[in-house]
Symmetry: D2
Subunit: 468 residues, 4 copies
């Protein structure tokens, strides 16, 4: 099993762990200080490429969360309107936007993980523009020179990961300075680095950020979304885009069935898992950009119509546990209103649905225990101990009769492993273990002082804090 | 061909016409005075029946529009929140509701046709409650005694019908006084008397009002809707609930195809018809009632979540040409929050989709000209003349070489017949004629001084205003 | 004492009473049927006259309330924005206005008494415009032809008067049809017919409607207000514009003293009176009109700035017991933005303060019992009996030892006279009596079957319902 | 003339300047990098002291702006509502607050200078609470553990000072960590470090932050305000609290006169000065705290009523050039609603007026040139050169015939000195000069490489950038 796509920082850290050379002190990752974290910029495996110089995009990620930020920059200030529709939004300066002035003022829109803490990313991009002398704050220019940076956040803490690292000023400013045209990374990137979807039905799928672009004649439309919804993402046939399905469900279950049969359809689900209190923090944040010049009221209408249309692709949508916010931006590059408001709305809504579908990353598979698999001697020898993932997460591993057991010893549970009594960790091979269930859950013992949970793109690394 | 389901008033009128005994003066129906119109109350052919004494419902209709009003009354004042989401809403007292006081004040919700003029129905029900001594305005009671009547309207003028009759104070008070429990008329009834749907894709289907009821344990949910959307109504499989389809469309066309292929999917459509200016006035108004007691913020959330979910069943939804408003009401009959906010929202959303589907009436068929059919001698003899449908609508019928021709002679067009030059009226049988096209369009000559357009539930009656 | 300024209807009624010729049946004024009430239009003793043809104004009053309505009409549709700021507003169609479309749609603004029942006046003016063929509802014109009538109401029930007559459709349509340019009646006229002010400090002054006009170069500004505030109206020196002062107050008490010394300054006050439950329903509704063309955001800003400035002239302002709403209208007659937003706001704010001060009518004086004054023989002979003022208000008058006593026998109290035990009515002269207190309170026995309370502009007429 | 109240950092810098020992390189203060700036915490000369442990307050200042931040912390989460009323507000997370949830979530309110850049202070305090482990972001606690930090900003750039230093993350976190109970520094402190007032009438007074506290029985009310309004601050007699008056004004001019006589009253004013473009950026941000437990709607009402009442003390108020926002907080320490909503509103409004008056610092006097005063020989010898105040502000000083002349050589003007042609700097004494005018304007030559403009609390220090 390879531990892929790590940042240099984490890679070095894990290398040190694997080598067993790291000191036994409480590791830095378990503290709240983020100064050692290394921004990873514009990391991409799958991307939307499109030709529209007016939009620049940059992403930044802290792999140790993982969590991240996505910055959209409009070098020429643009007109913006906002539709906040979820029950738990995070926003900046929307009171100003709601006043409806009809001149372009927007510089950047910043999406980030980290719940409300991630709003620091939005304000940091504004001050970054100032620090760089681009929006100097000088009140003597003819055009407004105070940066307008708007932004929203997703909740990517809770049961998703075992730490509370957030996208901070440093990461956001690095991402803003990495903005470039034409490329938007898709999947679990940027602000969508640790998004999930479908908790309402217990799907708990890995999610991410999506983008799509359409051009009809001179009209350009781009849609971007960070999809972290409580509802499930579904395609135009009603098929779930991603879901760890419950046992009783038909293979080709459709969202309409799940919805219509509710509450029957949720007999087994997320809500029944260990992380109950955290299951209900979600958000989908989105951005639609058009080059057609629009009056303020029409731009606001575009926001409303497109946001409402997203209720087709995410079900349920706009719940109390979502903080959904949509930003509509007009770059004003073409005049003369070639499209009426509803027509423009339909085109943008369909682009947004495409964007949503593009957000879904490949899902890690659920690995079952393998009959006959046995822990290696090395694992048995070194596994026992308490591993710290963050200040609230300790996993105590014990060995008894050649079997491994785990128990949450910190404040929080460790995914499916609770505090009550040790749970058997069932071997998949000599170094990897699982506790069987609906979701992927692998514990990989490195043979050194660390334990990697769910190795791969969303891995969590714990370090031994007890003397061996 | 029978002229069915008329009110006594219209029946008498038409009878008089058929008998040719009516004076040649400009008929009353062409004037703006509505005092001769006769309220038809609780007219029902199809109905939702349900057991929930807290909700009383009454409908009133003026068949000469036709247009109507639907009154929901909560004898015990209820808590209400509102979500206005369309681009052209009509509302009353929503500033007050938005203040979020947490005590029940709602008496009635009134839905009506007549565009903004139909708001008279809302205020009239309030004063009706006062006139009847139920909410006396007496400020000395312990409980609030000023009636709170909220309400919204649909646009049912324009190309839908040939007059501008609106639901007025008299009709609304009659409907309020006819409220009763347990029965909600479905289809083209009450406020949905002349609703249409699907103009965006040229569907131009007849629409109406729908209702649905669910009970899960002690929880009761009712959803009511007057569906007059610019978008198409579709079922959970994406099938159009009603549509006069364009020629090129596949028989089993799905809404997802129409939407995704837009603007290609609208090559032929409503927008190309004669009534262009009127094509884009729509609205869907809806009401969801729960018996669970809810905090104000949760009731508002219910409104938002359910309203957003309707974007699945109506596509597009919440456009600039819609005036969508949803009312969420809690009767507060059960306490203890058995359902979380998102769960309640899903249950109510599905109930609302059921309600929407129940709103669709049986569609009149498109009748083609019949080869060989000839006007009867009597028709030829008496058809010529100008028929007045209202102050703005005159149809001039001429006879030439045994054929009939029509031309709009008033300010407005007469459905597909414009002002430019006489259009041939092609015979279907001895008394009925059509101008072929996408939509039903029958002209029935009675042999007397009147002309019935589209005889049946949505018929328009014109009277000869020229001496024969 | 003369009973002046009555309407013909009331005059006839009172004449009949004085003649003692009226039957003993429960008089019509005590019922809820308003069909016998006679609209009095454009009644004026004091007026603002100004030259601005774009604004037409009409008032209608039912003297038997008294209550009334004021209609502002813009023959050429105007742009409007609304600021609802009080805790209990009544509004129509403000959701639409808030969408911020930048084309003029406003036809009329309607202010009325009657609490929420008075909103019927707003919708009735819209339908009046339709009935008259001015805004036909015809969707085929090039310009919008649906009337936009906005409006708000004041609470003028409660302890103010002894009945709940409200401005209804008939009165509002009559007032709309009486609109004319150049004249705005000042004082207790139109919607301000039975306004009061200053209840917060127990002032309980009679109030009304005010107007003012300024022209600076080409810029025209008009301000209109119906002042029924819980707070006191004060001039630019802080002097109370009108107040029945409490005993302990200095003669030249200033509003700043009352406010700063609160709650000490309210030792004796309205709240201590008999009509406690009704003391706290108020509202100030206002309208500012400019001829400068403004973007939507600037017009909204004008509404906000002016509304906020009114907190100087009314203290306290925008309380929970007020339903304050301000309408800002631009007729768009002059272009080129001669005044910046704040400058325009200041000019309009000062005009509004002038308007507020002009609203205050001459106050009836408090008449004390006159030592030695004795009821006339005729009064003693005929006074005893129960007088009905409305369905909730009966006053039982008894005679004992040459003195008169009063007791409230209906549901409501009769100003200062409660239900508990008979209160002595102390003679002022042979026919007039009072119960001494802070406020004017005269009972005038006509010698016939009626009793006039507070004869004059705000008089209430009761009729004997017991056989003599 | 002493240069008082400097921070250690600036003091050292100025000392170095005075000693003439500093290198000629472009000084650090002229760059945008803020990392060398030293936070000055809880700096106080005048203060409100009060006993209310629930509220903790800290201030931070960068003297080199000067600019600053004020943090209000509620250790026990409190309920909050917001009223944004100005034309240019800066806010964070108000969409969430507007949803009206009825449980306490507020941790901190942060006021800052720096226009929108100062919003970084608000988000930084949230992350500070996280970094310190107080609001860990851990989703597994029973109570919400995501910090809610709200905040607003004032515009203190523009013509106020010669640089664009803003309160950043570092300063805000330092101020948050310095919060303590019972003391609130008054005057030009914290977020009010470089506030001004009265620009509308050209007053251009120095302003600051104010606070007041009242206790009535068990009820506690505190009001805090950072007053940077476009309008003038006035006391309860209408006297201007601070103003550099225009020449023609009476000594005892009252605000009512200025307002009512507008535009005549603004014949000479700010708008005529050199810094025209910057004259119109203002804001007043305020906070009212009560210990009475309130429903959400009542807390929102408190915000509205108090905010409206501020229109008495600031005239004009809530203009397009103000970004006024008021926060209302209930600590919920006393239950049982001892005060009605309007009563509470009045008490809080008066407390707020007290707070506003307490905000006004002692004003620097206008120093006129002194006839016969001559530059010292040392000054003449060393004065010539270009002095840099920030990247946009250079002042070129030349000597001719024993007189000094100044000219703005950078992008911006230097207060009253423009770019056109050299202006004579008239001697006040041997080292100090002025350009006579309505406002204080002193140029103090230190004899070394620096030039101190307006020495004292609001001084600006320039450093020579040309070789001598």
């Amino acid at each position: 099993m390879t531990v892929h796509k790590q940042t240099k920082g984490t890679k070095a850290l894990v290398a040190a762990m694997l080598a067993g050379t790291m000191a036994m002190a409480v590791p830095a990752i378990a503290a709240d200080d983020q100064s050692h974290l290394e921004p990873v910029l514009n990391s991409t495996d799958r991307a939307l490429t499109f030709d529209w110089p007016a939009i620049e995009i940059g992403t930044g990620e802290y792999e140790d969360g993982p969590t991240g930020v996505t910055v959209f920059r409009f070098k020429k200030k643009a007109l913006v309107q906002v539709d906040a529709r979820g029950g738990g939004p995070g926003t900046v300066n929307t009171d100003y936007v709601a006043l409806g002035y009809d001149y372009p003022e927007l510089d950047t829109i910043v999406f980030a993980g980290g719940s409300w803490y991630g709003l620091e990313a939005t304000t940091a991009v504004a001050t970054g523009l100032k620090d760089d002398g681009i929006r100097s704050g000088d009140a003597f220019s003819l055009e407004p020179n105070i940066a307008m940076s708007l932004g929203s956040i997703i909740f990517d803490f809770g049961s998703r990961r075992l730490n509370e690292i957030y996208p901070d000023k440093r990461l956001a400013q690095a991402a803003y300075r990495a903005t470039r045209t034409g490329v938007f990374p898709l999947g679990a990137r940027g602000a969508g680095r640790f998004a999930k979807s479908g908790g309402f039905f217990g799907c708990n799928a890995f999610s991410g950020q999506g983008g799509a672009f359409r051009q009809v004649g001179d009209l350009k439309i781009a849609a971007f979304v960070v999809a972290n919804p409580y509802g499930v993402i579904n395609d135009r046939d009603g098929k779930l885009a991603a879901c760890y399905k419950a046992m009783g469900w038909p293979a080709d279950v459709k969202v309409a069935d799940l919805m219509q049969d509710f509450p029957e359809s949720r007999k087994e689900g997320w809500a029944g898992g260990a992380d109950k209190t955290a299951s209900n923090k979600n958000t989908t944040i989105s951005l639609v950009v058009v080059n057609q010049k629009l009056p303020v009221a029409d731009l606001k209408r575009l926001a409303v119509q497109v946001h409402t249309s997203m209720g087709r692709a995410i079900q349920p949508f706009a719940t109390q546990f979502d903080g959904d916010v949509l930003y509509a931006v007009s770059t004003g590059e073409i005049e003369g209103a070639p499209y009426s408001s509803p027509d423009l709305g339909v085109l943008a809504s369909e682009t947004m649905w495409d964007a949503l579908l593009s957000s879904v990353p490949e899902q890690p598979v659920v690995v079952a225990p393998v009959a006959g698999a046995k822990p290696s001697a090395d694992t048995l020898k070194t596994a026992a101990g308490t591993y710290r993932f963050s200040q609230f997460v300790d996993l105590e591993v014990t060995v008894k009769d050649g079997k491994l057991y785990g128990r949450a010893a910190g404040k929080r549970t460790v995914y499916g492993i609770g505090h009550e009594k040790p749970v058997e960790l069932q071997a998949v091979n000599g170094t990897d273990f699982t506790v069987p269930g609906r979701y992927p859950f692998i514990l990989h013992f490195t043979g050194g002082d660390n334990l990697v949970v769910n190795p791969g793109h969303w891995q969590q690394v714990g370090m031994r804090v007890t003397p061996q």
